[in-house]
């Protein structure tokens, strides 16, 4: 049963532990996907996701309502990840965040016995995404994966709406071309 987000948020504000647990369960996958996008390391991303929820818990009284909640949560996860990355880079300058540390990506098309088609497609998308610039990856993550609106992304990245729109278009075309190179049959009817 899917509880309405507003109900969950109201109950969380009242200090309802069960509602808080439900909220964590509902959004942990999304928060982890965002932190994973920035951190590129499963353990670091997991820690960052946990930290994001702890911050969220401390800010329960100032939680945004309704549609504004998800963009706000993503902003919290994104900003936290970027800060943590900066700290990590300052502490260990030789550390380089490699795209190879990302999620497991199959290098070839697996047999049906090995994996499902869905998983293979996800791997293909991750490989194509890894070939894009960081800027394009971020805009794809926010616009096409997390499905934020252009205005919300403009607020989040502190960029003019027109810039966000043109970057999003460019990134999608780049990704489509990268996918076609990897698998010409992708998207074919």
């Amino acid at each position: 049963m899917d509880l309405e987000l507003q109900t969950l948020l109201d109950r969380c504000r009242q200090g309802d532990d069960l509602a808080w647990e439900a909220l964590v369960r509902r959004y942990q996958g999304r928060v982890f996907a965002v932190t994973m996008h920035y951190m590129r390391d499963r353990e670091e991303a997991r820690d960052m996701a946990q930290e994001t929820f702890i911050k969220l818990y401390r800010k329960l009284d100032s939680l945004r309502d309704g549609e504004a909640f998800l963009p706000w949560l993503i902003r919290l996860a994104r900003n936290g990840s970027i800060d943590r990355l900066r700290r990590l880079k300052t502490r260990t300058p030789e550390r380089s965040v490699s795209v190879d540390e990302g999620p497991e990506i199959p290098a070839r098309r697996p047999t049906p016995e090995e994996n499902s088609l869905e998983r293979w497609r996800a791997g293909l998308l991750h490989r194509a995404l890894d070939g894009l610039s960081e800027q394009s990856q971020e805009i794809i993550q926010l616009k096409d994966i997390q499905e934020l609106k252009l205005g919300q992304i403009a607020d989040l990245l502190a960029l003019p709406l027109g810039t966000v729109k043109s970057r999003s278009h460019r990134a999608r075309i780049e990704l489509a071309e990268a996918i076609q190179e990897l698998d010409p049959s992708f998207g074919a009817p």
Binding site: L125, D144, H169, R172
Partner: protein, 238 residues
């Protein structure tokens, strides 16, 4: 369509000006009528079965000699076309382009597939212990007001102007404590001033100092006088 209509529209076919429905009717007639089919061959036009290919080649030739290719502009519109946010005119223009451009058609199909597939990456699975770890770090740890207060406090203290602001606030507090007429300490500054002032019947520190200085100068003057009288007596004896 009869043969007369066919002949009248032959030029339009060769120029690529026929709309798709008319072209379809035209081709059906050419397939059924041997005379019209031969006529089409004589004028160097396409065979009924290859007319689309012929027209495509014609369009490419015209574009090559004019603007080069319209693919660049089509690509700019393709994301909006995929999102169905393109206005009517541009949508029809893009669709006409897609009818004739296999490469852009493929790109458009990929964009449509991406629109369907990308949101599936919005969530990544986490192990079951994650929720427990978050709950352990939040619910059972401490009341929210405590963590809120700690966050606020560390935020304040870590501000660069904290020392100056603390001094300012401290001064304000002292002024309020000593300056407000309702506070029991209101008379404290006045008492302090009174303590500094001498009582009327006792000599003040300043008076005592003046007297001491006067005695000192008198003593110095007597020394000079003695010295002068000694010198004069020496002169007289000489």
């Amino acid at each position: 369509m009869n043969c007369r209509d066919f002949e009248s529209r032959l030029e339009a076919l060769l120029d690529g000006r026929l709309d798709p429905a008319t072209r379809q009717t035209y081709l059906s007639h050419a397939r059924d009528c041997t005379a019209c089919s031969e006529l089409l061959t004589v004028v160097g036009g396409p065979t009924p079965d290859g007319v689309d290919e012929y027209l495509a080649r014609l369009t490419s030739a015209v574009l090559e000699n004019t603007i080069g290719s319209a693919c660049g502009q089509a690509r700019e519109y393709l994301p909006d076309h995929t999102d169905q946010t393109l206005d009517t005119v541009n949508r029809e223009l893009v669709e006409l382009h897609l009818d004739g451009c296999a490469e852009c058609r493929r790109l458009s199909a990929t964009l449509v597939a991406l629109r369907r597939e990308l949101p599936k990456l919005a969530e990544m699975p986490l192990d079951g212990q994650f929720t427990q770890a978050v709950l352990a770090a939040t619910v059972t740890r401490e009341p929210r007001w405590k963590s809120w207060w700690r966050d606020q406090w560390s935020g304040w203290v870590q501000r660069p102007r904290f020392a100056m602001e603390a001094a300012y606030v401290g001064l304000l507090v002292v002024m309020l404590v000593l300056g407000a007429f309702s506070t029991p300490l209101a008379a404290l500054p006045q008492k302090g001033v009174q303590l500094m002032q001498p009582e009327p019947d006792t000599p003040s520190v300043w008076t005592n100092t003046q007297e001491s200085l006067g005695t000192f100068w008198e003593w110095v003057a007597s020394l000079f006088e003695k010295a002068e009288s000694n010198q004069e007596s020496k002169k007289e004896t000489l």
